[in-house]
Structures are given as C-alpha cells and as structure tokens.
C-alpha cells in the first residue's frame, strides 16, 4: 500500500484517491492523454503518470485538440534526462509547448528558450550574467524589503486570496525590482506576460494576433524609454541597464530586445508565483513538515528545493525529433513531438526516494527536474530560490498560523501547473 499523495486534512479522502486511480486503471492505455487539462484542474493527472511510468513509460499519446494531435509522453526521470541533454536530436526550434501556433501565425516571438545551438548559446550567454550568483547579492536587500512590505499589509483574522495578495503581488513586485521598472505600473508586467503567451487555439478569448502584436509594441516602446534613460548614465544593477551596457547585448535590435525581455518576464512570472502558492498548500497538507520547519528554520533552503519539486510549476517542456531515433525501446519518427513530463519524472521512485511524500529535509533535494537539465536549464533558478527563501524567512518571522480556508482553484493548463485562487487566513 503506497502512502496517500495528499495528507490527512485535505478534502481528498483515501476513498476518493482509490476511485481516481480505479478510473485511470480502467482506461485502455491508448486513451491516456496527460495533456488533457482536466487532469490538472482536478489534480488527478498524477494517476495517469503513475500508470504510464509502470506500463508504458515512453507513450504515444493522442489529444483530440487540433494543434496538439499526437505526441510522445516521456514519463521517467532518466528518459527525460536523456531527451533534455540531446539538443542535437531533440530540437526546441519548433516550440516548447505541445500546441502548435495556428498556421500563418508568424508572430511568435523569437526567444532563445525556443532555439537550438549555436544561436541559443550566443543569446543565452548574453543574459546569463544577469542572474549569476555574484549579481544576486545586489538584489538581496531590495527583495527582502519588498517582501516585508507586502507581508506587513496583509489582513489579519480574515479570509483573503493568497494568490492575488501574496503570490502575484510579490512576483510582480520582484520583476519590477529586477528591471527597476516604475512600481506603480508593475501590473503591466503581469499583463504583458499573459499577452505574450496568449494563443487563440487554446484560448478562444485570446486577442487576435494583430491586437497582441500591438500590445507588445507598446511594451517595447515602454522598455525602449527605460533603455534610453539608462544607456547614457553609468551602469547600474538592473536588468535593463545590464542589457544596455553589456558588450554582448548593447547592439541588440528591437525584436531581439523584446524577445529577451518577454522571456525574462514570462520565465519569472507564473513559475515563481505558483511555487509561492504551492509551498503554502503543501505545508498546510503536511502539518508534521510545518512543525519541523518551525522547530528548525535552517531547513528553509532544502524546503525551497522540495517545494519546487513538489509543485513542478512547468509540467513539461516540448521537443521535436530532428531524425528517426529510438527511446526506451520505442521508434520515434522525425518531426514527432515529445513532452518531457517533469511532473512525472519528479514522482519517479526509481530516481527519487518516497517521491509521493513532501519531505522538507530529504537527501539531495536539488536533484529534481523542475528547472530542466542540459543547455536550456533554467537561467533564473538561483534567483527563484532566493525569492522563495526570503519569503519563507519573513513568513516565519511574522506569522504563527496561516490556515488554508478552502479548496484551491487550479489553472486549466497542462503546461503551467498552478493556482488561480487559494483562500487563507492569518490567525493572530
């Protein structure tokens, strides 16, 4: 008998877990389609992955959604590592999500996350220093100050939405800090992040491509103003100043500048935000881990890695095969799409001990897949960890009890694994 994925005080009782497992077990293998967002809304996709890891770890999946169609699901840790470290076979050029852009939509921004070497390497090298550990020191104090400011204004003894008041607010605050972006306009960053990832195929409410491009041009002109202000004064430590003065980036064209900005904004937005919410929920579901943390706050660092594993804010990255090849005994065809399901690899018991338990002091907490591996490994991983570390240090310093007051609402997406609402109450 495996331990229940969620613990005592969650609404999911053991019988509901058994029922969800039985539902998945009754399906024919060919019906297993982990990209179905419903499994993310009700958080049952884990049972699909559990079955795939055991019965068909490299699985040909079919989605009824046009634009996704057929794809391979890679569900085991080592196979994911294999795909992520062979960019010469598994390319990023056709995009990093399973959804193809509508034919004729050439408005996709060119960003190095969706490029192969050598172009990828050149562009990544240019922005890499920006979030290098030596530079993180510059932001340490500012991030702490703003984290404190947000936490100090939270309501007490009344229910509020943690996603809006803490996770979104802090993430946008921090992005604004990194870009030294006018604070009063900071929600523009969230807006631009949403606009740049909008795709009409997945979301009928998404703006038309022309509208989307017009909004992004507004973003570019805003950031061009910031660039011009900073290029003529001494270099400072914000991202715009660094790009404007860096030898490898100061001659970038406008589209390249925009691509890099959007990548940094999107990369640092949903991911960190959902780790902030997911961490609170995980601790609420696992009171014994919360007790451990209160008794020994030096566990924060390893807890942050565990939260990022547990949440896996990006459930997968897509690759496209450049040639016929073999993986896990399956024949992969040229041009086939593959999803490296980090969320599944992070629950693979052949790589991670007791993967279905949230353990804040586990051995080797950093060996999770949430940041990817290989040449595309997350640029911002140390920065994200720093933000979460400061958040938890300041939470522990202030609040004795944060209660989760109701069910979280999960985002309808198989790519961004996150929350749109989590009602909580700070008791004091």
């Amino acid at each position: 008998m495996k331990p229940a994925i969620t613990a005592v005080n969650t609404p999911e009782s053991t019988t509901q877990i058994a029922a969800a497992r039985a539902r998945v077990a009754a399906l024919d293998l060919s019906q297993l389609n982990p990209a179905d967002p419903q499994g993310f809304v009700d958080d049952t996709v884990g049972y699909v992955f559990e079955r795939l890891r055991h019965e068909d770890p490299v699985h040909r999946s079919h989605s009824p959604v046009p634009g996704i169609d057929s794809y391979w699901s890679i569900t085991r840790y080592q196979d994911i590592m294999q795909v992520d470290t062979r960019p010469d076979i598994y390319s990023s050029e056709s995009g990093i999500t399973l959804m193809d852009f509508p034919p004729g939509d050439d408005q996709q921004l060119k960003m190095f996350i969706a490029m192969d070497p050598p172009k990828h390497d050149e562009q990544r090298r240019a922005v890499n220093p920006i979030v290098a550990p030596a530079n993180l020191k510059n932001w340490h104090d500012l991030i702490r100050e703003r984290t404190c400011r947000v936490l100090d204004t939270l309501p007490r003894n009344e229910t509020f939405d943690w996603v809006d008041k803490v996770s979104i607010e802090l993430t946008t605050y921090m992005l604004a800090t990194l870009f030294d972006f006018p604070l009063d306009d900071r929600r523009l960053l969230t807006y631009w992040s949403d606009i740049s990832t909008a795709n009409k195929l997945t979301n009928p409410d998404a703006p038309e491509p022309e509208v989307r491009m017009a909004e992004l041009r507004k973003m570019l002109s805003y950031f061009t103003r910031l660039w011009n202000e900073r290029v003529n004064v001494a270099p400072r430590s914000d991202l715009v100043s660094m790009l404007a003065h860096g030898p490898a980036t100061r001659n970038m064209g406008p589209l390249e500048y925009m691509g890099n900005l959007v990548l940094l904004i999107v990369g640092g937005n949903d991911t960190t935000r959902n780790s902030m919410t997911g961490g609170l929920l995980a601790l609420d579901n696992n009171p014994q881990e919360m007790a451990k943390l209160r008794a020994n706050p030096t566990l924060i660092e390893s807890m942050v890695s565990e939260i990022i594993r547990w949440q896996t804010p990006l459930a997968y990255m897509r690759r496209t095969a450049l040639a016929d090849t073999e993986l896990g005994g399956k024949q992969i065809g040229k041009d086939d799409k593959l999803a490296m399901w980090y969320l599944s690899g992070n629950r693979d018991e052949s790589a991670i001990a007791e993967p279905d338990r949230f353990i804040i002091d586990r051995a080797k907490p950093r060996q999770h897949l949430s940041f990817g591996f290989g040449i595309h490994r997350c640029v911002g991983n140390r920065l994200a960890e720093l933000q979460l570390k400061i958040l938890w240090e300041e939470i522990l310093r202030r609040f004795e009890v944060i209660e989760v007051m109701g069910e979280p609402i999960r985002v309808r997406s198989s790519f961004v694994r996150g929350f749109s609402k989590l009602p909580v109450r700070i008791r004091c």
Binding site: M81, T85, R125, N128, K364, R366, G374, I375
Partner: protein, 85 residues
C-alpha cells in the same frame, strides 16, 4: 568515483551537482591547476556544450562530474569560480 561525487560526499560548499553527474547542470564547474590539467584528461563533447553556458569560462575549466579520480590524480588542486562561492 568522480571529482564531483568526492566533493558532494564530503559536503564541499560550492559544488552542488544538481544533475547527479549527468553533465547537465554545470553546477560542478572547477578550474584545474596547471600542474594537473594533462592528467585530468580532456573535455567531453557534452561537457564542452555545457561549459559554453557558464559565466566565467577559462582554458582550464572542467565539469567535476566528468573528471574520474584515480591514483594519478591523488593530490590534485582545483579552484572554484567566483560565482560558486
């Protein structure tokens, strides 16, 4: 036994080894002292690819998970890049 494994087993700060030695994270970047560089061997193809991405690449840069320890390397001296301090 690789140099990365020896460092992480002994909790040497600055070598995290996030990918467990798969040559896929570059958190085990070291500079091999000139006197030892021949004996430490040459970079593998995937190692060159990952080193492309590190902030402070030098001629004597290696990824510690790609350096296998044997008697020849007993006493080897390596330094850490600033960004891993």
């Amino acid at each position: 036994m690789t140099l990365m494994r020896a460092a992480t087993d002994n909790r040497v700060p600055g070598i995290d080894g996030d990918c467990g030695g798969n040559c896929a994270c570059a958190t085990c970047h070291v500079y091999v002292d000139a006197a030892w560089s021949d004996r430490a061997g040459v970079r593998t193809a995937s190692e060159r690819e990952m080193l492309n991405m590190v902030p402070e690449l030098k001629d004597n840069s290696r990824l510690a998970c790609q350096v296998t320890l044997d008697d020849n390397l007993n006493g080897m001296v390596v330094a850490l890049p600033e960004s891993q301090h």
